[in-house]
């Protein structure tokens, strides 16, 4: 005999930052919420290795910094341009970022996500772990009325489903919210990371930080000719070192990600930072990199999509953010759902408050403003030609070729631009795109 399905107001699928924030917002409005997590605990399946910008938590968890489990507060932000034998770094440090409310932090996501889920649980959310949503439940009219889980008698009925099931969201795909071109491989990168253990004092000496201060190094180049980028992040007693690689380029070049990381670690600018470290973890994950153009339809009757499931990852070169977009979109999804439940209308028009909130805030405004940036950042010229040109220009500017007199900067730039094969029109076009995006 099949048991009656469990029923709640809302089921949130995925206990990442988006899911936990959505569930919290709903529970605080008095709704019954089940938060499904496929891993044995929230965060257990996470491979993330980046910087978290938690200021959006001001709205859900005031003074969050007093308890959030982070590794280091980022006080140094470096952007590095690498060629095979050159490196140029723009390094910025601010002690303003070492005190509340801070700016960004490195974090182990199993700790960060677990903390957020515990906060949701404290607000009354039922967190059900080791349970995967394997499909959508629909009524006779085809409207989404819950999810099917992988447990026996695992149907879970709800007035609204909030899909926060991460990049490559099967629920959003099943609901028909993605158009075909939005899920093309060209829109994704694969992030590959090694976690390298080093004594805490060694990290602090090598990176010039103290206490809980940390460093975020973003790298253009150093990816073995595959379009993408690299990174080095400081945790308390580990480093996160890795690369982000555009999928079609990686496949075309027949390279293995771990070999690209090995080459990055061997680069003269990186090797002294990681020397003597022991690799304690290796992980990889897909990243939705194409921004606004790959976002699915965000609402349908009885369902919303948030976080990486909705491709809300900002990969705009100087800004690489995702967790803050996930938390915000989750929170707004929860609030909009609560409004819809109160109004008794959970159809797509009833849930439209979600997209309205996103459009009024940084979530869609940043993505709209920067919608050209991902294409520019991952273009061949930015990936291969400009780094070589910049490095060569800087090398010639600082090289003392006596008895030759110093050359003029304009001449150097002109010569190196030509040597890198960059046409003046392309340079102007990219500059214009950059200005429109970042200006």
């Amino acid at each position: 005999m099949t048991a009656e399905p469990v029923a709640v107001d809302v089921v949130v699928v995925g206990a990442g930052p988006a899911g936990s924030c959505a569930a919290t917002a709903l529970a605080r409005r008095g709704h019954s919420v089940i938060l499904l997590e496929r891993g044995p605990f929230a965060g257990s399946k996470n491979m993330y290795g980046g910087v978290v910008y938690p200021r959006i938590l001001d709205q859900l968890h005031p003074n969050w910094w007093e308890e959030v489990p982070i590794q280091r507060w980022i006080t140094r932000r470096s952007t590095m341009v690498l060629t095979d034998s050159q490196a140029m770094t723009v390094d910025f440090r601010s002690q303003h970022w070492a005190d509340p409310p801070y700016n960004g932090a490195t974090a182990y996501r199993p700790d960060f996500d677990h903390w957020l889920a515990q906060k949701a649980e404290a607000d009354g959310v039922q967190v059900v772990t080791s349970t995967t949503a394997v499909g959508l439940l629909r009524d006779e009219a085809g409207r989404i009325v819950g999810v099917r889980t992988d447990r026996p008698d695992g149907d879970l009925r709800a007035s609204v489903v909030i899909a926060c099931d991460g990049v490559n969201s099967f629920l959003a795909k099943e609901a028909g919210l993605f158009r075909e071109h939005q899920t093309a491989a060209d829109n994704y990168t694969v992030g590959v990371k090694e976690t390298i253990a080093l004594p805490r004092d060694v990290i602090e000496q090598r990176f010039g930080v103290r206490g809980r201060e940390g460093v975020d190094i973003e790298i253009l180049g150093g990816t073995g000719g595959v379009n993408g980028g690299g990174f080095v992040y400081t945790n308390l007693d580990t480093l996160g070192v890795g690369v982000v690689l555009k999928l079609p380029a990686l496949a075309a070049q027949q390279q293995r990600p771990e070999e690209i990381i090995a080459d990055l670690k061997a680069h003269p600018a990186i090797a002294p930072l990681v020397e003597g470290g022991e690799v304690v973890e290796y992980s990889a994950h897909l990243i939705p990199e194409a921004g606004r153009s790959m976002m699915p339809t965000l609402t349908t009757d009885g369902m919303l999509v948030a976080g990486d499931a909705a491709s809300m990852c900002l990969a705009a070169g100087i800004w690489l953010e995702g967790v803050n977009f996930a938390m915000a979109s989750g929170m707004y999804a929860g609030e909009a759902t609560a409004d819809a439940l109160a109004a008794g209308d959970t159809s797509a028009p009833g849930l439209a408050g979600y997209e309205r909130r996103l459009g009024d805030t940084f979530v869609l405004r940043d993505h709209d403003k920067l919608h050209r940036a991902p294409g520019l950042v991952l273009s061949d010229r930015v990936q291969h030609q400009y780094p070589q040109m910049i490095a060569n220009v800087v090398e010639r500017v600082f090289r003392v070729d006596n008895p030759q007199p110093k050359p003029g900067l304009r001449r150097i730039v002109r010569e190196e631009r030509k040597r890198a094969g960059i046409g003046i029109r392309d340079l102007a076009r990219d500059a214009w795109t950059g200005l429109r995006s970042f200006g």
Binding site: A3, V6, S44, H114, V128, T131, R151, P152, D153
Partner: protein
């Protein structure tokens, strides 16, 4: 304390919670412990007695509770946690388990354990527990069945199949009270229904006080590895001779001795042999 009524039959399952990584989120029990619960649930179902129950007992801190809730979700009728540190030696763990079984459960007939735990994996707690309860013990079991028959005390008659060396099997009829250890391969713990998983989150975990302080504190917990044996340097002119001396290759091996004895005499003979071979000190 919850009033659980008096069941017609009760099978107690002992779980050992182990935190190998210093992270309670990743702690748990062995596959053998899970198999023990599944075996007990299957035995209870075979009894066809509506009031038969399975009780899971473990010893540990509050961090143990999620594992016990998993047992409840899978079908255990009741769980008991002995609130104590997990770094107690096996004999004290067994004493605490026996005390809880006698005081909280009013005695037991059948106890099912896993054959190994994730840390030491020596299966010593079931032996100590059998001694504490004055019960029979069988280990290395790969099947436990009940067919509805009961013995003179009203306890179910249990048939057990034990793995022996050389692919042989031994069939046992277990007299109660008995502590029975099953291997991890005998069963996979059933997956809880969604409703059971939710209900288990709200269920009561009976907590009884346990021994407060360990006599010995474990600095670290890790999987059991046998100690290194000191072997004298081999004698021989050539490397081949020394390898032969080390490995006894080519030498006629001493065959094992087969004896047929009653259990008490067999136990005494085993202890005597272990002394003789140097495994036990006088």
């Amino acid at each position: 304390m919850t009033d659980h009524g008096t069941p017609s039959h009760r099978i107690v399952v002992c779980w050992k919670w182990v935190d190998l990584e210093g992270d309670a989120r990743r702690a748990g029990v062995s596959a053998a412990d899970e198999a023990a619960l599944e075996t007990a649930l299957a035995m209870t179902a075979s009894l066809d007695a509506p009031t038969a129950e399975v009780v899971v007992v473990t010893l540990g801190p509050p961090e143990t509770d999620p594992v016990l809730r998993r047992a409840l979700a899978a079908g255990a009728h009741r769980v008991v946690r002995i609130d104590a540190s997990v770094d107690l030696p096996s004999d004290r763990v067994a004493a605490a388990l026996a005390e809880a079984m006698n005081d909280e459960l009013g005695g037991v007939d059948i106890v099912v354990c896993g054959d190994y735990s994730p840390d030491r994996g020596s299966g010593s707690v079931p032996a100590f527990l059998a001694a504490e309860l004055g019960a029979a013990q069988a280990l290395g079991l790969i099947q436990l069945t009940v067919d509805g028959r009961v013995d003179a005390s009203g306890a179910p008659v249990v048939r057990a199949l034990r793995r022996l060396d050389g692919g042989r099997r031994e069939q046992l009829t277990v007299t109660t009270p008995a502590v029975l250890s099953v291997e991890g391969s005998v069963a996979t713990l059933r997956r809880a229904t969604l409703a059971a998983e939710l209900a288990a989150k709200q269920a009561t975990i009976d907590v009884v006080p346990g021994p407060r302080h360990a006599e010995q504190h474990a600095d670290s917990i890790r999987p059991f590895r046998p100690r290194t044996r000191v072997v004298p340097a081999p004698e021989g002119q050539s490397a081949l001779d020394r390898v032969r001396a080390l490995t006894a290759a080519g030498a006629t091996s001493a065959h094992g001795e087969t004896v047929t004895l009653d259990p008490p005499d067999a136990a005494a003979r085993i202890v005597s042999a272990l002394h003789e071979w140097g495994y036990l000190e006088s």
